[in-house]
């Protein structure tokens, strides 16, 4: 089978998401679509999958022009998509999710669940995707959920499978397992498109690489004939520093001391299991781990949003274990939350209002009950200049800024005070390379001013590049500690998967 995207152009208000894109994919090959966040990769694939319609251009399957009115048509043409954010109904079972929309039925529309289960098991065994058809999705680990997505796609006899950022939530070992699945799918004649911004993976698994930048194809490459640096330059359009420049850390006194902390998640399970660590002034400690191993709850406990049920947290000796978020903030601890839209800022507020979101209650932004908006605006203007936030004014709404600039507002707000420590959760998630560079620089600058910094990230590359010391969290415990210079992503990956110290690694 051969699928061709010819001259695809798609415009959204104010931006050209895809600009005359040409792409061909054939059976039995893995094509990687590489580009940074915002380059137009997902838009292109959503057009292929019938979720969007192109303004210009056509889609051809085996030479015939197709008209997709919706995903149903694309599915019928043999195209399947595994989305970055899983399209699974959390409260349904595996089998229910797999057959949704193409359910096997008995009379009167009653679903034949036993046949559905059988079908799921058949595909499972055929492709080596082990999963229990009756398991409920929200109880399954992420790796299993991904397998369900693949089964879904195979159930609909997809011949071309598109994977959108599939490795974002996997440990290095799970990534290898996933690549194994990709190879076996390729052997059975499927065509695969693999969307990512991760250079290493692309070089490892792809047969061919197409690079998108600002909506247009800017280059194609074969893995054996190129390297990370060249690809990064194609992606960004200029030479890129792939490492973070920083001086060695000069750690001082202890800023943050966490001792024997136990925190519950929202279902009252133990999420943080007797964790202890210290962060010294002038050092960046990174917590690596697959999402869901207690990092979120740890951050919530440190910032006062989810009080620990036992253990202690000391900020330069002050006990903040059960302090409110405001007290912790006023005590000199900053928090950059992991979801800037949900928890970091108020999109319908102006830049100024967002900038004083957690400091409005005190001088100089308010006197007693009365707000001093003039002072707030003035301060915001200064911060916008200092942090290079691209916005025409401070009275523009948060929703009108790009992701990178939104995060800069959050970081500016947090870093612009006198701090003793800072906690940052996924600080560069979803940002373009330029913004990522900038934010990493600011974090290092803050460290050099003497703060103790904790950075929690699922991007192993980020942790390796930024942190001075790395702790790996697995199932609520810290199971390993390393310096970046003394370890590799492979070793860290093993820890992230739970292989403890001292045992024979994979």
């Amino acid at each position: 089978m051969e699928i061709e995207l010819r001259g695809i152009t798609k415009r959204f208000p104010g931006v050209v998401a895809n600009d005359n894109v040409n792409l061909v994919v054939r059976s039995g090959e893995i094509v990687a679509l590489l580009g940074e966040n915002g380059a137009g990769k997902s838009t292109l694939m959503n057009i292929l999958y019938g979720l969007y319609s192109a303004d210009e251009g056509e889609i051809l399957v085996d030479g015939e022009v197709q008209h997709f009115a919706g995903p149903g048509d694309a599915i019928a043409a043999g195209i399947g998509m595994v989305h970055q954010h899983f399209m699974l109904v959390p409260v349904f079972s595996v089998a229910e999710n797999v057959v949704l929309g193409v359910e096997p039925t008995k009379a009167l529309g009653v679903i034949n669940m036993s046949e559905a289960r059988k079908d799921v098991r058949d595909i499972s065994t055929q492709y080596g995707l082990e999963v229990d058809p009756d398991a409920i999705i929200e109880d399954l680990p992420v790796g299993s959920q991904q397998r369900v997505e693949i089964i879904k796609v195979l159930f609909r006899s997809a011949e071309l499978i598109v994977f959108d950022e599939p490795t974002a939530v996997l440990t290095p070992q799970e990534v290898q397992e996933f690549f194994g699945i990709l190879r076996s799918l390729r052997e059975s004649g499927k065509a695969i498109v693999f969307i990512t911004h991760k250079l290493k993976e692309v070089l490892e698994i792809a047969d061919r690489i197409e690079v998108l930048r600002r909506g247009a194809v800017v280059g194609a490459a074969i893995p054996s004939e190129t390297d990370e640096q060249a690809l990064a330059e194609l992606m960004v359009g200029r030479p890129v520093e792939l490492t973070v420049h920083k001086e060695p850390a000069q750690p001082g006194d202890v800023r943050l001391a966490v001792k024997d902390l136990v925190v519950l998640d929202e279902r009252n399970h133990v999420a943080v299991d007797h964790v202890s660590f210290e962060i010294q002034s002038g050092e960046i400690v990174g917590i690596a781990g697959v999402q869901g191993n207690g990092q979120t709850e740890l951050v919530e406990a440190l910032t006062g949003l989810n009080p620990a049920i036992s253990g202690s947290i000391l900020l330069e000796g002050d006990d903040i274990t059960h302090a409110s978020p405001r007290k912790i903030h006023d005590a000199g601890m900053a928090h950059v939350p992991e979801d800037r839209h949900k928890s970091g800022m108020v999109l319908s507020f102006t830049v100024t209002e967002n900038m004083v979101l957690n400091s409005y209650h005190a001088d100089p932004y308010s006197k007693g009950v009365l707000m001093d908006w003039d002072a707030a605006r003035e301060a915001t203007r200064g911060l916008v200049a200092e942090y290079d936030v691209r916005t025409p004014s401070t009275e523009v709404f948060g929703s009108n800024l790009s992701g990178g600039n939104q995060q800069k507002v959050v970081v500016a707000r947090e870093f612009s005070r006198d701090l003793r420590a800072a906690v940052l959760s996924q600080p560069t998630r979803g940002l373009d390379v330029g913004s990522i560079e900038y934010i990493h620089e600011r974090i290092v600058a803050e460290r050099d001013e003497g703060d103790g910094i904790l950075i929690v990230s699922t991007e192993l590359d980020e942790v390796m590049a930024v942190a001075d010391r790395i702790l790996v969290m697995f199932r609520g415990k810290i199971i390993a500690e390393r310096r970046p210079s003394e370890t590799t992503t492979t070793e860290l990956g093993l820890f992230m998967a739970g292989v403890a110290e001292g045992s024979n690694g994979g």
């Binding site: 915002g38 978020p325 903030h329 928090h335 970091g344 800022m345 025409p392 600039n405």
Partner: protein, 387 residues
Amino acid sequence: MADEDPEIQPDPVTEAILEEVTGAGLDWRGIILVPVLAIFSAFVLGGLVIFLAGEGVGTILTAFGALVTGSVGSLGAISETLTFAAPLILAGLAVGIGFRAGLFNIGGEGQILMGGMAALAVGFSFEGLHAEVHLPLALLGGIVGGAIWGGIPGWLRAVTGAHEVITTIMFNFVAANLTVYLLKSALFQEPGRSDPISKPAFESARLPRLLEFLDEGYRVHSGIIVALLAAAFSYWLLFKSTIGFEFRAVGANPSAARYAGMNTSRAYVAVMAVAGAMAGLAGASQILGNTFLKGTPGFSSNIGFDAIAMALLGRSHPVGIVAAGLLFGALRSGGQEMQATANVGIDITTVIQALIIIFIAAPALIRAVYRVKASDNTEQITKGWAT
């Protein structure tokens, strides 16, 4: 998401400010044309309903004519409009302040009743006080009564997550029954009467008439002054005070508000208490401004429900709510005239009000019908049952 929105052209500054005030931006069509067309369409449809009820076109025109003369056609009519507008504005503020904090205050009716009863109690309990003391004291009673009746659902929402739509509506029913009971109780009931009607408050607690020197029949009283002051206070509270900033943040994004250190639970209680206080003032205005200074069942006369429409119409902004209050006050006073002269039931004004809201809340509908160009906006004011 892998694909971030690339840099979008931001709006100019003026548009941003205007949007904050009116929710519609420099989009003059949005601010002026759509509401006008909405009101116009509502009247047309309302006329259609009257027609379907068996009245002729002549009656319909007489009816609408009476609406106009009865509301603004004479000084007396204007007096009536302002009399009706006062409690409406206060109740509208009660709903609007709630909206700003993401809370749905449907409990206006109950808060009006409880506030009014408290004001009434203060009104007839103290003999011989100077009006300068008694009136503010009675108004304070109204504030406290309403604040409690609004604060409890707010507290329930904060502590248990119970959605205030249901609790406030239930509290309305409870208040209605409680009012009847109280009006028949020894404390409140007019001696010698067996029906639920209260003793009169003392004259020292009366909200003085404003235009009495011109004509004794002009009912407009200083309740309208109270309402306008309350609107000014609401504006200051929401946009100039720290508490108001918290309210708005909690309403716009409770998660971000929490992360920024705000106490959302406290905010919910405070908002509902303030909103309840406004409605309580409306109740006080109803009692202390009426001719006989007595309370009867149902003295809230659906003001609490109209208030929801008004808050929507006024986009939860004090300025808009005052304007909407005047409009709805006009509808009520004109409606009286309409019922008297054209014999068309006053409930049709409720229908017209509902239609106005539908058209305002779905500007796309008006735009589609009248082919008006638009800027794109979906409005989500509440977020379902999830807490």
